[in-house]
């Protein structure tokens, strides 16, 4: 009996329990989870706080939870969105709108051959999501990063349509080995031009790998840093159709101020310029060559997905009309991405196809008289304001009394300079789960570029070589084919408090290049431009008028990485890569690139439990070795015989051949050893978030064309690995949420970078032969000198002027001779060409459906050699050219020096971007779920002491770094943006 009663009692309890459940079912908590566009978010996880109860939203974003409570608190989480916490009252459905992640330590970061939670990162990586990218009329994804990431300098020199900005991660790492970071777009590895194929509005995230412990996984391509772009994918169970557009008006900002016709004549008389040089017109050359430009950017994107399948497709058009007449750019990109699961979800196949077409009409890049060559636009500053544009008969005016006279308006109107490129890449990734935790992967990518550029200089362009040859036409065809194939094994396991994630990859890359060039001269008219070279004059064929080439490079890599963590507190990442590359000398085909880094999540420690200040605290430290090879061209190490102009021998012209380079079988990659220490912190419940990184990176085996003694070398330089250079830096990123509530948020964010570069050594020996390279001129008085930053200015000091108004300079060594040789004691060190610091300030504000954001950025500590100002300041040129208004007070007639009179402070602060947006939520439309309007202003304000057109000139570390030879005009743009999300 006792048993029975016990049984009965048990049943009662059970029925009571059932009753409770029944009661609960009668009072459900329901709601709907939507994204920032009011689109349902299926698969979002809803948890009841304080319990184990959890559910997921269905296809319509709805969820339902039962509880015995009258009110519960739930948290809703979805990848890529901030966790939302809401109170729910039974029987009162709630619409929960999720906000995409702002910066938080829980994001997923793509780290190369895998992903990592941001909280598990041990290296220096900047992760930027959609919200962190600069909005507006973007033509190149790099513009979206400008000012956003510490240690990442984006330099936009002028606003020529189709011209890409340059990017340097943690400064200049190499002299000729290549400073452009590796770009990885959805697994496709490429050079910077790969970014042209990424539609700016289709970027999901950008991850920038900065330190060696992060980039060492890319081995011999990792030294200049890595930019990983991940494009948007469709979420399973979600359909989306979206249209995004931007249209801007682009206007000129600062221009150089020249003498007008009256002022010119006034000065001309003072300087005894003969009246025959005054042709009596009043021409605004700059006005003639410029116009209001425009930029349009349209993207239609759509996608859908079911349980095992999802896809996303988009078509983008970027249309740009430049501020210099006849320069424009069009870029069309179509892409489709599909993911399919199979074999009971063990196999995931992801395919990506991307095809782009771009057409550019570039403004001629290098025209001018012998004394001054720049891009076309800057020739307007040379032209005399008193010169007419046209002759009375309608032909373009030219002055035979001026050597190599150029009529810039004729050049702009008559030169044809077109480039057309077809870009295509396709990828396939297959991941097969073999057993629990073990995945095998295969990835293949194939990228092709077929380009064609045509150039025609008619005689009427007034350019002297075109006049001499009665027209010059040429066509350049080039083809690039890049294949990559990798096989990987990935193993993940947890045992106890240990977590292990290991990956092993074998990778094979082959990149091949071929092309041809043909040129003809002497045309009887200009009708066919470069489209019919056979119409040229056969007797004008000269060596170099036709050529072709083919070469390729191979890279074979073995890659391994282990991520280990203990108790979620102590993190270790170690990677190793062995690369073999065809472009290096036989003695150094293979190189090893190891790295290791550690992190300690201090906030997870029990002793941190009771403090309220730090919500997050992580210390990181790492060391790694990376290499650099992309800047080296194939066949650089081997002695070769190439063609030379013909030689007259044996009574006739015969083919001639020439040993084209000094051989170097020791040619190898540069090795960059980098140590990074960092701390990530969140204070006051992550209201204040920040990171600080310090690093030191030394490039050894520095590739350069080192000076060798001639004799016995037939050439004065040899490409070799000899010197070393160091970069040291400090990077700080901070963001503070001043206001954070349901309706309003205000975040102040910014970053700052200090950077120190020093050339340690340029000398050494090759095969026991001592080298002595130093004081290498890089153009415009900038030099490579041991012990100084690359591109340091070493310059003669201005003193005044003499009785004939010629410039006088300081004779530093007092020997009565001004020696302008590279190592002359009359030169003094006077600042550096690259900035010492850069910073960005990116506040953002939102109130209900209104949002606003700004980007201010700047850099400083650098000098600019204002070569164009020097060129336009000597009155001896007045008879044949114009000069700047600023030349009048200087009153210099002539100078035989390039003195520090033209060396200026290059610091600046730019108000890069202001964006105001308003989202109109549309709840009652059958077709549209939301509409957002925005207004974006770009380059709204520039604060600088620099007197040139724009202080943002080349700082890429190559020749002519820090020299202003005149740029394509920099524009200020105002854009209207529209984003419509359809149902």
């Amino acid at each position: 009996m006792k048993h029975i009663s016990l049984f009965k009692y048990g049943l009662t309890v059970l029925s009571l329990l059932c009753a409770t459940l029944t009661f609960a079912q009668n009072a459900p908590f329901t709601g709907k989870v939507v994204d920032e566009n009011n689109q349902p978010l299926p698969g979002a996880v809803v948890r009841v706080k304080g319990t184990e109860t959890a559910t997921a939203t269905d296809v319509s974003g709805a969820f339902r939870i039962n509880s015995t409570q009258q009110a519960i608190v739930i948290t809703v989480s979805f990848v890529g969105y901030d966790v939302a916490e809401k109170s729910l009252i039974a029987n009162q459905p709630l619409n929960i709108q999720m906000q995409p992640n702002s910066k938080s330590l829980s994001e997923v970061v793509v780290v190369g051959y895998g992903t990592s939670r941001k909280s598990d990162l041990t290296g220096a990586v900047t992760n930027l999501g959609t919200k962190d990218l600069n909005p507006g009329p973007i033509t190149n994804p790099l513009q979206q990063l400008s000012g956003r990431a510490a240690g990442v300098t984006i330099t936009q020199t002028g606003s020529e349509p189709g011209a890409s900005p340059s990017v340097r991660i943690r400064g200049i790492t190499s002299l000729i080995g290549g400073n452009d970071p590796l770009v990885v777009v959805d697994g496709v590895q490429g050079n910077m031009d790969l970014l042209k194929q990424v539609p700016p509005s289709e970027i999901e995230s950008v991850d920038i790998l900065k330190d060696a412990s992060a980039t060492a996984i890319y081995g011999s391509r990792g030294a200049p840093g890595v930019i990983i772009v991940t494009t948007k994918k469709n979420k399973a169970g979600k359909t989306s159709v979206e249209y995004t557009a931007n249209a801007s008006v682009d206007v000129l900002t600062r221009e150089l101020k020249e003498l007008n016709a009256n002022q010119w004549w006034e000065q001309a008389q003072l300087y005894n310029v003969p009246a025959s040089s005054n042709h009596g017109s009043s021409t605004d050359w700059a006005g003639l060559l410029t116009q209001t430009g425009s930029t349009q950017n349209h993207t239609v994107a759509f996608g859908g997905g079911a349980d095992k399948f999802s896809y996303r497709a988009s078509v983008t058009g970027v249309l740009q009309t430049g501020t210099v007449i006849h320069s424009n750019y069009k870029n069309y990109i179509g892409r489709i991405q599909a993911t399919q699961k199979a074999l009971d979800d063990r196999l995931t196949l992801t395919m990506n196809l991307n095809s782009g077409v771009n057409d550019a009409n570039f403004s001629p890049a290098s025209v001018g008289r012998a004394a001054f060559t720049s891009n076309l636009y800057n020739n307007v500053y040379v032209a005399r304001p008193t010169d007419p544009v046209l002759n009375p008969d309608g032909s373009y005016y030219t002055d035979p009394n001026v050597f190599q006279y150029i009529n810039p308006y004729a050049v702009a109107n008559t030169i044809v300079n077109k480039t057309h490129e077809d870009n295509m890449f396709g990828t396939l990734r297959a991941d097969l789960q073999l057993t629990k935790g073990l995945t095998a992967g295969w990835f293949g990518s194939w990228r092709r570029i077929n380009g064609n550029s045509g150039n025609y200089l008619p005689a009427m362009s007034t350019i002297s070589t075109a006049v001499d040859n009665k027209g010059i036409a040429n066509i350049n065809n080039y083809h690039t084919d890049e294949k990559l194939n990798d096989i990987s094994l990935n193993y993940k396991t947890d045992f106890g408090k240990h977590h292990l994630d290991a990956v092993a990859v074998y990778e094979y890359q082959i990149q091949s290049y071929n092309g041809n060039f043909a040129q003809a001269k002497g045309f009887i008219n200009d009708i066919a431009t470069y489209n019919a070279l056979q119409l040229g004059d056969i007797t004008k064929v000269t060596p170099g008028d036709f050529s072709s080439y083919k070469n390729d490079r191979k890279l074979v890599s073995y890659i391994g990485r282990i991520n280990y963590s203990y108790n979620n507190r102590y993190l270790l990442t170690a990677s190793f890569r062995r690369d073999g590359s065809s472009v290096f000398g036989v003695n150094h085909k293979w190189g090893d690139f190891p790295s290791a880094s550690l992190a300690w999540r201090v906030d997870q420690e029990s002793f941190m439990k009771d403090q309220r200040i730090f919500s997050t605290l992580k210390l990181r430290g790492g060391y790694g070795i990376t290499g650099n090879q992309q800047g080296l061209y194939p066949q650089g190490s081997i002695p070769l015989v190439g063609s030379a102009p013909p030689v007259f021998f044996g009574g006739e012209l015969i083919s001639n051949f020439i040993a084209s380079q000094n051989a170097n079988s020791d040619l190898r990659w540069e090795t960059r050893k980098q140590t990074n220490l960092g701390v990530d912190f969140g204070l006051f419940n992550d209201r204040l978030l920040g990171s600080v990184d310090v690093y030191t990176a030394t490039t050894d085996n520095l590739l350069f064309n080192y000076s060798v003694p001639q004799p016995p070398f037939p050439y004065g330089s040899i490409q070799a690995n000899v010197g070393s250079m160091v970069n040291k830096g400090l990077e700080v990123t901070l963001s503070y949420q001043v206001i954070r509530n349901n309706t309003t948020s205000l975040t102040l964010a910014g970053n700052a970078t200090l950077l120190k570069n020093k050339v340690l050594n340029l000398s050494g020996s090759i095969n026991g032969v001592p080298l002595n390279t130093n004081y290498v001129p890089r153009g415009g008085n900038s030099y490579l000198i041991e012990g100084y930053p690359a591109g340091v200015f070493n310059i003669i000091k201005h003193l005044g002027k003499d009785a004939t108004n010629s410039e006088t300079v300081i004779d530093q060594d007092g020997n009565g001779i001004i020696d302008q040789g590279d190592r002359s004691p009359d030169r003094v060190i006077a600042g550096q060409a690259t900035p010492k610091y850069t910073f960005g300030f990116t506040p953002s504000f939102s109130y209900k459906n209104f949002d606003a954001s700004m980007v201010w950025r700047g850099s400083g500590g650098n000098k600019i050699y204002n070569a164009i100002r020097a060129n336009l300041s000597y009155f001896e040129n007045l008879g044949k050219a114009n000069v700047l208004q600023s030349a009048v007070p200087l009153g210099l007639y002539h100078s035989q020096y390039g003195s520090d009179l033209w060396l200026e402070d290059g610091s600046f602060i730019r108000w890069e971007n202001l964006n105001l947006g308003y989202r109109i939520p549309i709840s009652n439309s059958k077709y549209i779920s939301s509409v957002r309007f925005s207004v974006t202003g770009n380059n709204l304000l520039l604060i600088t002491k620099y007197t040139g057109a724009d202080p943002e000139i080349s700082t890429d570390g190559n020749n002519t770094t820090g020299i202003d030879n005149g740029i394509y005009p920099r524009t200020r743009t105002v854009a209207l943006g529209l984003n419509v999300v359809f149902k």
């Binding site: 035979p400 006049v467 004008k540 083919k550 191979k554 066949q635 102009p645 007259f648 001639n656 051949f657």
Partner: protein, 496 residues
């Protein structure tokens, strides 16, 4: 576990097939294979001649700018490029004329680098031809042309690095005194000139045949006293007499409306140098092999444009003092332009300033010795350039005779050259000054003047409006770039 092993196996297999990273070359020849072929050895010799043609970047013997020709011409009294008040022309050329050059001057390092690349190329040719057991005449030719480059090196720089094996490393590369290199040159020439072909023109146009070889030997002997302190007038005379056996004569100088400037004399400086007088030529076809800028560089833009259709460079001029030495009836004076010219320019003899503030655009007498021939463009014309011609040899014969105390024997040589130029015979036996002046008239702008001035001890004297300079200027400094890369090199005295 089996699956893991299988996949590792697959990866291993795949990896095995693609681990080679050898370089493939598709569009060039590997130098090892190329030079091992008989064609390669021939090309190696032809390649040495490709060093002779003048081209941009200071390369070559003559015809283009910023190289050997400019260094050896503008440092003399026969031509100068003034800086112009209109801002044209850098000061290097005026500084050469004023004899104020510094070791860092680009024209000096261009010359040095060109000469040593030429030596390298010649060493390579000698080596390859000997290895492939080529025709002894070709080996001799390569050795002679190498001697030619070393002769130019000691003439400009004195004690110079010396090597004949391209595999030498710089630490084993000695800087040899001028006399030792002189001895080497003499030895190479005396051993090899007789092996050279006697063919004139045709296959040997622009090449060292036997007569060009002797002309070079004669030049070396002519300046032996400058190089070594020991004169070799007799030897020079003997070498010149050898050339006379080659059947050379002075090209006619008579008036002829079809000839450039109306005289047959100027055919010597035309498209092809006539082989009756020319011993060694530099072949030119603009933009294909070399170029000749000497006239376009001289004339003012509108003047050259009006006559030839291209804008002149308004550069090199004849200094007034030099111009005024020419007799008015000398047909060689016809090469100069002064006064009003087509294109509305008016050249004047006087030059107000060479550097600061510079000369006015029309100042200075211009030279059209090389009346431009087609093909031509704004970058020069196609006139061949005479390196050695018989008039030069005849004046050398005259000089040697005078110096050996046999002035009467010198007279016919000088008279022949004068009479061809429309002048009368000398009234008396020639003096050294007569020979020196005649060389100036006959050979102006042909690259001989600096050497002649040094030999006649006039180089450092004041002339025109430039003052006298120290004797050390008789040698150019070793360029800074060479000193920097080879710390064992010793700079010439006076330049430290």
């Amino acid at each position: 576990m089996k699956k893991i092993l299988t996949s590792i196996l697959i990866i291993g297999l795949a990896a095995q097939s693609c681990t080679k990273v050898n370089e493939n070359v598709y569009d060039k020849y590997s130098s090892k294979e190329f030079y091992a072929s008989p064609q390669g050895a021939d090309v190696a010799l032809a390649n040495v001649y490709s060093q002779v043609g003048g081209n941009w970047n200071g390369v070559g013997y003559a015809g283009a700018d910023n190289g050997w020709y400019d260094l050896n011409s503008f440092s003399s009294d026969e031509q100068v490029i003034p800086h112009r008040r209109t801002g044209d022309w850098q000061l290097d050329f005026a500084q050469l004329y004023q004899r104020q050059w510094l070791p860092s001057m680009g024209i000096i390092s261009n010359t040095w680098n060109w000469l040593y690349k030429s030596v390298y190329t010649a060493n390579l040719a000698v080596d390859l031809l000997e290895t492939s057991k080529a025709d002894p005449a070709k080996i001799a030719e390569a050795r002679v042309i190498r001697a030619f480059f070393y002769y130019l090196l000691i003439d400009d720089f004195g004690n110079v690095p010396f090597y004949t094996d391209n595999n030498i490393t710089v630490d084993k590369l000695p800087q040899v005194d001028r006399k030792t290199v002189y001895d080497f040159i003499v030895k190479e020439l005396t051993e090899n000139v007789d092996k050279l072909s006697e063919t004139k023109g045709g296959e040997y146009y622009g090449r060292f045949n036997k007569w060009a070889g002797y002309a070079l030997l004669a030049k070396v002997y002519l300046n032996a006293e400058v190089y070594t302190g020991t004169p070799k007038w007799t030897e020079c005379l003997a070498a010149c007499n050898k050339i006379a056996q080659g059947g050379f004569s002075l090209h006619p100088g008579a008036a002829n409306p079809a000839s450039p400037l109306g005289y047959q004399y100027y055919e010597l400086f035309g498209d092809k140098n006539p082989t009756d007088e020319t011993i060694l030529s530099m072949f030119v076809t603009v933009d294909i092999v070399s170029r000749n800028i000497l006239t376009i560089r001289s004339l003012n833009g509108p003047n050259f444009n009006a006559v030839y259709g291209f804008s002149g460079w308004n550069g090199s001029i004849i200094p007034q003092e030099f111009y005024e030495k020419f007799a008015d009836n000398d047909i060689r004076k016809k090469q100069f332009l002064i006064g009003a010219q087509p294109g509305g320019v008016n050249y004047t003899a006087e030059v107000s300033s060479l550097d600061d503030p510079g000369a006015f655009p029309d100042e200075g007498v211009r030279d059209t010795k090389f009346v431009p021939v087609l093909p031509m463009n704004g970058g020069g014309a196609s006139n061949d350039f005479p390196i050695y011609r018989y008039a030069d040899i005849m004046l050398m014969q005259a000089e040697c005779n005078v110096r050996l105390g046999n002035a009467p024997a010198a007279k016919p040589f000088v008279d022949a050259v004068r009479q061809r130029a429309g002048l009368g015979a000398l009234g008396a036996d020639p003096t050294l000054i007569d020979v020196y002046n005649e060389r100036g008239f006959e050979l102006n702008w042909e690259g001989h003047r600096r050497q002649d001035m040094i030999r006649f001890n006039t180089f450092t004297l004041a002339h025109g409006f430039v003052p006298a300079v120290g004797d050390f200027r008789k040698l150019f400094p070793i360029p800074t770039s060479a000193l920097n890369t080879n710390t064992n090199l010793k700079q010439n005295p006076g330049y430290n």
